[in-house]
Subunit: 305 residues, 3 copies
């Protein structure tokens, strides 16, 4: 259990904090806690969406509360000796504090119950869980591969990547040519799957390697559970692909894109930077940058401010 | 192979049986059988939806036939010495008989090919299959975890739960906050996944643990394959979630609900008791109790009688 | 690495080749290569969809180029001593050449890290990867089961089948009967899953065994990632089921059918031979043979020429 001086947290995140109300001297924070489990060593917070945020702050058993400027530092809070850490974006700041101080990751070790190809090249400080099958691939530093992940050959993974359980990386893509006798022949699937730094991939995803061009996921992008990403797809930086998204072959998704759940891309379309696609959409056309699309088939709804 | 006196079955399920036609003395039942494989020791049945049910009963090689009152105990049936067990709901009764006498479950054993955390607490009489990875969690009695399941930390499983292969339980949820540099920070995912008694979860599901509130699945609910259930979701009692259903964060689903395949919930909605949602729907609003909704976005179709 | 005489390739596929331009004597081919990685031992190709195919052919470092008759054997190609292998369907022919000469499959071995039931019957020349759990089932010859696959009991697999990682075969189907107390009873799930020769099944699929009738996938059909195929479904020969397709119970799909991504079949419908269903469709009715359907719910769009 960490024990951190509140003054250190405030100093570290001073750019994110508008004001601190109350006496922070010698305050220590030990953890974040689920709603209802907070105590005096908890850093608690008030969600700006909470209409009864003032009461929430007053009733919290925590002594340090992260909030926005709508919470008044009133008598009740002062008398109970609470500290308010005021931020314009308390949800983001809570996530940053969690990331900086409290997020726990598996101890880096390669399980002796994993099956690692002798041709795999694995960087420093990696965790690879039990029942992972790792083919002829290259894995960077500080990578976390949770249990029961399968990595085929020809996969290249950068640093600080997290892959959750049940995910299959680098399967040869699904592209068949039919002849006049209705025999189906697999088109050559001989390229790679490249996953850049800081990407996180959810559980039970299937991400195929490329046919004659690589499949690429650029750095910082995050992918939720049960997504399928086909051969030759490229996904830009810092994009968010939520769950049950199906991205057919050769789709090009830009940077800072948000794809809502259960969206289907039919393939060979280009999705511009900073665009957003609503849930359950069927994307059949290119989407320009900075637009919000939705529907089946998806159409422009508005600009993405 | 069981060998059960028909008279015992009839006595046990007397409340479900309207009438028995024919001589049941010394009749024994050994099994249920697939269509076309029945023999004299089979308990066969006539599906009420079968328009040629009478002929089906006459042609069956079984001597005991479960049916509704539309099947006549005619000369052909009498001469072939068949017994009709008449129920108003033969399909339900067949399921109950299967459950009571014939359903086979794995012998309770924890595979030495599973990887169990020393901090896991596991009840009596459990089956845990090969290549299961089980974290710091609590598992009740008579639980069946089929092979290749992954259970992260902070999962609490009740009694008589079944989890099918490839399912991932308790992954930290997918909730990111974006800063002005397009860095994505994971919001704290520090609560639990709680699965109550008699829940069955299909293959290749991904059910995340809660962020600051628990994810909860109440008793008797059944979930089909490849569903995604996000952080903070709650699902009531005796609800049926069919396959490829996507339930985004903080959705609250009531009791005795039926969710048809490939439905998407966008999150933060409340779905009332005894409601029903049609296939391929996109649920963007609260659904009151006792209503049938369908569509993308879903709208009320009718009351659920 | 293979080294093949071009004259042998041309002789083998003479029926698929219209014309060969240039001197093939002593030309050898060692491999196919991703775009940008070709060299003098590569068999390269020009995609008929490439509007700048002529320049592509001229700039290729390969000496042998598969193309259609639109590529001119001009001075540049002649002077660089290149050979054009002309086909009416170069994409299909490339797939056939890949299949015949260059596609690599795992060396047939049953991993000592797999868990195989003593009641499993496994044919000759099979590959079964690490962390596969194989129940009481029958597997033919030359079958490839990639790592982390789970096969329940009562599964019958033909010859030359490929099953990708994370797939679950033969789970008892999902069919519950509800009683007046809202208890849910599983309907008997006692039939088999039968997978015929040359079927390929993608990653993270879940294919259930039958209730009282078998689930059957006929020969040569190909299924992409994350599909769910329920109890009692039948799929004909040489059909293509792309990814994230949900096929509910008792759906009958014909031969040479094409199902686009994220399509949902609500069950108990019949899909005719040579039909095609567009992406994201919800199929609620029978589809006649030779038709193209699309939409939610799906409607006929046109004949399938």
């Amino acid at each position: 259990m960490n024990e951190i001086l509140l003054s250190d947290i405030i100093a570290f995140f001073s750019a994110d904090i508008v004001e601190v109300k109350g006496d922070i001297s010698n305050r220590r924070i030990m953890y974040l806690k689920p709603v209802g489990y907070e105590d005096e060593f908890t850093l608690d917070w008030v969600n700006p969406a909470n209409k009864e945020g003032q009461q929430f702050a007053e009733h919290s058993k925590a002594k340090v509360i992260l909030c926005n400027s709508k919470i008044e530092y009133n008598d009740a809070l002062q008398k109970s000796d609470k500290v308010l850490v005021v931020s314009e974006a308390p949800k983001l700041l809570l996530a940053k504090i969690y990331h900086q101080y409290f997020k726990t990751l598996p101890v880096p070790i390669i399980s002796d119950k994993a099956d690692i190809s002798p041709d795999a090249v694995i960087g420093a400080n990696c965790y690879i869980g039990a029942f992972c099958s790792v083919g002829k691939c290259k894995i960077g530093n500080n990578v976390i591969i949770m249990p029961n992940v399968t990595i085929y050959d020809d996969v290249v993974i950068g640093d600080n990547v997290i892959v959750h359980s049940g995910t299959i990386l680098g399967r040869p893509g699904f592209g068949y040519e039919r002849d006049s006798d209705n025999m189906l022949y697999l088109f050559p699937q001989i390229s790679r799957l490249i996953i850049k730094d800081n990407v996180e991939i959810g559980a039970n995803c299937a991400i195929d390697k490329g046919a004659l061009l690589d499949t690429v996921i650029e750095r910082n992008s995050k992918i939720n559970n049960s997504c399928h990403i086909a051969h030759n797809v490229s996904i830009g930086r810092s994009s968010v692909i939520t769950g049950h998204v199906y991205i057919a072959g050769s789709t090009k998704i830009g940077n800072n894109v948000w794809i809502s759940p259960n969206t289907t891309f039919v393939g060979h379309t280009v999705i511009g930077d900073n665009s957003k696609v609503g849930a359950g959409s069927l994307v059949t056309k290119d989407i320009p940058a900075n637009e919000v699309w939705f529907g089946s088939p998806a159409k422009k709804q508005r600009d993405n401010e």
